[in-house]
Symmetry: D2
Subunit: 268 residues, 4 copies
Amino acid sequence: MKKLRYGMIGGGIDAFIGEVHRKAMALDAQFEFIAGALSSTPEKSLRSGQELSLARNYASWQEMLKSEQALSKEERIDFVVIVTPNHLHFPIAKAFASAGFNIVCDKPLVHTSQQANELKDIFQEKDIVFMLTHNYTGYPMVKQARHMVKAGQLGKIRKIVVEYNQGWLANNLAASGQKQASWRADPAKSGIAGAMADIGSHAENLLSTISGLKIEEICAELTSFVDGRLLDDDANILLRLENNTKAVLMASQIAVGEENNLKISIFG
Amino acid sequence: MKKLRYGMIGGGIDAFIGEVHRKAMALDAQFEFIAGALSSTPEKSLRSGQELSLARNYASWQEMLKSEQALSKEERIDFVVIVTPNHLHFPIAKAFASAGFNIVCDKPLVHTSQQANELKDIFQEKDIVFMLTHNYTGYPMVKQARHMVKAGQLGKIRKIVVEYNQGWLANNLAASGQKQASWRADPAKSGIAGAMADIGSHAENLLSTISGLKIEEICAELTSFVDGRLLDDDANILLRLENNTKAVLMASQIAVGEENNLKISIFG
Amino acid sequence: MKKLRYGMIGGGIDAFIGEVHRKAMALDAQFEFIAGALSSTPEKSLRSGQELSLARNYASWQEMLKSEQALSKEERIDFVVIVTPNHLHFPIAKAFASAGFNIVCDKPLVHTSQQANELKDIFQEKDIVFMLTHNYTGYPMVKQARHMVKAGQLGKIRKIVVEYNQGWLANNLAASGQKQASWRADPAKSGIAGAMADIGSHAENLLSTISGLKIEEICAELTSFVDGRLLDDDANILLRLENNTKAVLMASQIAVGEENNLKISIFG
Amino acid sequence: MKKLRYGMIGGGIDAFIGEVHRKAMALDAQFEFIAGALSSTPEKSLRSGQELSLARNYASWQEMLKSEQALSKEERIDFVVIVTPNHLHFPIAKAFASAGFNIVCDKPLVHTSQQANELKDIFQEKDIVFMLTHNYTGYPMVKQARHMVKAGQLGKIRKIVVEYNQGWLANNLAASGQKQASWRADPAKSGIAGAMADIGSHAENLLSTISGLKIEEICAELTSFVDGRLLDDDANILLRLENNTKAVLMASQIAVGEENNLKISIFG
């Protein structure tokens, strides 16, 4: 079986999630990491690639796109993995999709529904394989839970409580210049939501994936507890799902004492 | 040190919580259980008292009130413990308070604010020591938590999540005639609330006791999941407390798999 | 049902286990605590009894024996509970048994087999109900485990590992005069074994009670880790039981970090 | 940084530990897997290599040795990983070491001290980098424990209890032909010890690695509980280590209910 060859955008020195993607793919032993534009400046990108013995090490995603397009179909990457801060997901996905590359992209894909529709049209026109990564749904226990619900082992689902708690933004970490906190705190990079976009989206994804139920009504209490923070850092939401199912979704980044605590209870 | 002597109303054969009160007082070794009208019929009351070698065993709370009143101050009980179904709390408390007896009464004391005010007036006029039992606040860990909040060890309280889950009413248990389920399912005996009165009140009590904060706004989703049930069996509530503290309160008696699971998280 | 009335020897001010016995009996609501000689000096004994509102409060166990004997059968205590340091178990049990009183006594009953046989003869001659308390075997989970083994649910028992770990004697606590540590460190009061007598005996009792198997061979490593300690504070023992069952028994009072950790694994 | 290229012997279809080695190396992203003789027959070896897209896929380790030796230093593998059943560790290690290849080999390296000395001489003569894998010592928590002991944070070590329990050999699994059980049950392949070689060796390794103490005296009870089994399936051992440290080592493969439970307690 031939291995699939991929390139990565983002995931260099100081990055958080790119290495997780690379390790996960390495565990499967069916992928080769051969190209990348790994950081936000040419210098940092090239240095990051050298540390990883990267075969085709590019200074920017624009250069990478141009060079990979110029290669033969046999030589070029089979797909590109986008693991940049949120605001770059859309332009990079649009550029690579337009050039016919398959894409794996971190959530959230876009900041507006209009952008989402624009990409959808390109994916269809170019017949692109596109995958948005919500990592938690990949766990065997989640797949098993989804299967149990689907198979009716819990009967009709009455109530769901899903909770994603972190405490690392309980203080104004962005003010210190910490990279991960800084772009998340900036609406121009992170989008219009804070904790809800960053981790509430995972909670919603887990709820939807396991239950298979659509959300019909929302009553949300979003709060920004830290002085000067522009986006929500805490969310408590009452949900009404299809079929008279009630749910509570909580997501917090000011939950002191919690590292990265995602849990879901489903009552049938 | 002289032991305090008490009488109990309710808590006989088939009862649930009366024995818990008696054991808790026995552990303290400062109380003597000497009188009681332990059940809803004369026959069952007397039989219950015999099984417990009760010194002054009455057929009804009315008889008990009359007889104890007739005794000298040295002989009569020091206080009465009311552990009947909810709807009897008010008339019994009113009668014994009016006769000058001190009272320990299970929650909820009354079904309406008018009744509460009426009792308050009698207690003050007669100089009664009255205690409403919310058992969970007696635990050392709860007292410690309250102390930590009060002492400022958590700083300003930002968020509280309190949850009380049981699964024993996931089906229509009252239809089977089970005693504990039956009176709880009947609005005439239980009051206008179901799960919220029975266990949500404990969750609220825990939140208020530990945080010391008043509730200012409520957004509640109450559901009755079981066909034919007249009262709520599941509640999910967003709360705004004083001082910009946000809270979520959940109480459910259809949470299959949970026995009696009360927990609270407080984030400062 | 008439309550049984008991007297206690030991268990006064500064004592550890006497109050545990009293609370356990109070929970059952079938006992009355009416007499006692609660400490090692007349003054401390009387003061202890006053604090507990004890009806018949004696200065010494000798006085208690004499006075209770003088009472009518209806008035005198139904049984005596002996909760003194180890070396007094034998003389007190002998004296009360000889006078015809039923006895509940803490382990270890005696320090030598000769003493055990002497008591056995008195118990039989006087037709005494005698109970030696090994508290852990009273737990429902232990009874359930014993039942499961007996019922053959585990098949033939192959291996047992039982472990009782405490850390409170990791240092020379007796040197500080702490009461509980002091008598345990003194061979004249504690007997010829230290950790093995104090807690290893509970481990052995648990193993024997649950498995129902007799010990046939012993290979023991007893150590006294603390300088100046005369008795073992750590024991690791290989056991061969009946029916080719192998076991490991560990008991330690120098296991820093452990409070009172008793566990058993049984493999069939 | 250039990646190191390795070949593997064993670890093909039906194998257990080879894939674990490959995944562990893949996580480090500093190794390339380029050659192998992955199973015990030519047909199975070649099929295993094809499934893994192996660049240089050999039918046997003898062929692999011959071919890799014939390659230039730049082309040949940097080291070989031996993950076969126990009895092949020695001949393969001897052959590859004699030819100058660096070696990673699973435990146990040999069955006799004579074989160990023979290999030691070859490694020194040929200046081979040789690594014996005891996987558990690679965990950060184990390294931290070792560091804490070394730094004196626990003071003088008094007692160690190490336990490795599995239940998968509680029945005569080898009789069913199951591959993993079969070679372990055969003294010719497994060596003179059963559970002690297979997992007791890990327990010993953990104890020695963390404590840094040498074993001075051993009192061992080895048992073979399953009818017809030639090697021990349960071991309980009292140890005396340097410096008056006492230890208990238990290893069992008949511990029904345990999957793969390794734990160690160290008391200072």
